[in-house]
Symmetry: C2
Subunit: 203 residues, 2 copies
DNA sequence: AAACTGAATAATCAATATAATATTCAATAT
DNA sequence: ATATTGAATATTATATTGATTATTCAGTTT
C-alpha cells in the first residue's frame, strides 16, 4: 500500500518517527544512524518503518524538509512582531536569516550536513523552501506598498529577486567566510541598499 | 631552497607547469592526474616539480587561483567597454558573472570541481578573489558617482554589499537550481532593484 | 651554486573480501 | 483488512592488502 497523506493516526506515527530520526541524525549523523535504531526508539520493528517511508533517504528528506520549515516558522514570527514597519520587517527577516544559518551551522553540524545533502539531491524540496521564504518577503512588500513605505510594482517578482540577493546569508556553506560581526555588518549594508531600492520616491 | 616569487625565469617555468597541470586537470580531473604526467608534459622529472610547488595541492591551488583570475579579467573587459553608463556597467558585470559561472559549470566540470574543492580549503584564495571582484564593483560605483548617475556614500563598503547580493549568480553550486533563461530574468530583476538603490534621488 | 634526476620511502588509491545495514516479503497479530 | 514482525535478500559500508602515486633526498649535470 502507498503512504497516505491524509490519514490522521498514520500522520501522527510518521511524525513520531521523524522525531526519533531527527534526534538520531542530530547526534550521530545520517550514516551512523540505522533504521533499526530509529525503529527501536519509536517502539517498532525496522520493517514497519517502511509502511511510513519508502526508504531511509526519503525519511531523511522529510526530516530535512521539516528542519527547513522550522526556519520559515521562526522568520514568520520575527517579521510578524507588532509595531514593525515594512523596512523593519525586512531587517528582521535578514537578521533572522543570518542568525539561523549561523547557529545551525555551528551548533547542529550533523543536521546541517544532512540538509545540505538532501538539498543537493532533491531540488523539489529546495524550491518548496524558496517558495515559503519568498512568500514571506512578498508579505513584507505588500505591507510596505500598503503603508506607502515602498513602491513595488510586481510584488512576487521583486520578492524572488530580494530572496536571491540574500543567498550569502542563507546558505551554511558561506558561514565560514566571515566572523559573525563582519557578517552582520555586511547584512545591514545589504538591507540598507535593498530598502533604498524599494522605497517610494517623492519626486 | 624556498620558492621565490620574484625570479623571472623561475616564474616562467612555474607558469608552464601551471599550463600543463590545468590542461590535465581540465581533461582528467585532479585525482586522475599524476605529478609524473604533468612533469612529462612540461619536459622534466616529477621530482623537479617540487622546486616550483610545495606539493600537488599547492599546484592545484595555484591553478584554481589562476582560473578565478581569468573570471575577473573577463568581467574587467566587460565593464570597460566604451560607451557604457555606470548602470550599464553593473548590468554587464552581473550578466558576465552569471554567464561565466554557467558556462564553467556546464563546460568545464572537472576544473570547476577543482576550484570548488580549493575554495573550501583555502579561504585566503577566496578572499583574494572577492577582493578582486569587489574592486571592479567599486570602480563602477566611483564612475557612477562621478557621472552623477549614482549617489554612493561609502564606495568600498557598498561594493562589498553589492558583491554579497550577487552570490547566487557567482557560485557554481547554484547553477542547477534554475534554467539559464529563468536565471537571466532573475539577474535582471536583481540588477534593476540594486540600481534603484544606488541611483541619485532628485528631491 | 642552481637545476635537475633516479631511486628510495611515505602516503594514497583500487580491488577484494567481509561485515553491517537497508529493504523486501511471507507469515502473524490486531 | 491493516499493522506488524522475523527472517531472507540486496545493498552498502568497513577493513585488508597490493598497487599506484606523491614526496624526499643523495647524487649528477649545467
Amino acid at each position: 500500500m502507498n503512504i497516505r497523506e491524509t490519514d490522521r493516526p498514520t500522520e501522527a506515527i510518521r511524525s513520531r518517527i521523524l522525531d526519533a530520526a531527527e534526534e538520531r541524525f542530530r547526534t550521530y549523523g545520517y550514516n551512523k544512524t540505522t533504521m533499526a535504531e530509529i525503529a527501536t526508539d519509536v517502539g517498532m520493528s525496522a520493517a514497519n518503518l517502511y509502511r511510513y517511508f519508502n526508504n531511509k533517504q526519503d525519511l531523511a528528506a522529510a526530516c530535512a524538509s521539516r528542519c527547513m520549515g522550522a526556519r520559515s516558522q521562526i522568520l514568520r514570527e520575527a517579521i510578524r512582531q507588532p509595531g514593525l514597519s515594512a523596512s523593519g520587517q525586512l531587517r528582521a527577516f535578514v537578521r533572522g536569516t543570518l542568525q539561523y544559518s549561523w547557529d545551525n551551522t555551528n551548533k547542529q553540524p550533523k543536521i546541517n550536513e544532512l540538509v545540505a545533502t538532501i538539498a543537493s539531491q532533491r531540488q523539489d524540496i529546495v524550491h518548496e523552501k524558496i517558495q515559503e521564504q519568498t512568500a514571506l518577503l512578498a508579505e513584507i512588500l505588500a505591507y510596505g506598498n500598503q503603508s506607502g513605505e515602498f513602491e513595488v510594482d510586481d510584488v512576487i517578482r521583486t520578492a524572488r529577486a530580494l530572496y536571491a540577493t540574500l543567498t550569502l546569508f542563507e546558505v551554511p556553506l558561506f558561514m565560514s567566510l566571515y566572523e559573525l560581526e563582519e557578517f552582520e555588518r555586511l547584512a545591514q549594508d545589504v538591507v540598507a541598499l535593498l530598502i533604498k531600492g524599494l522605497e517610494k520616491r517623492t519626486h
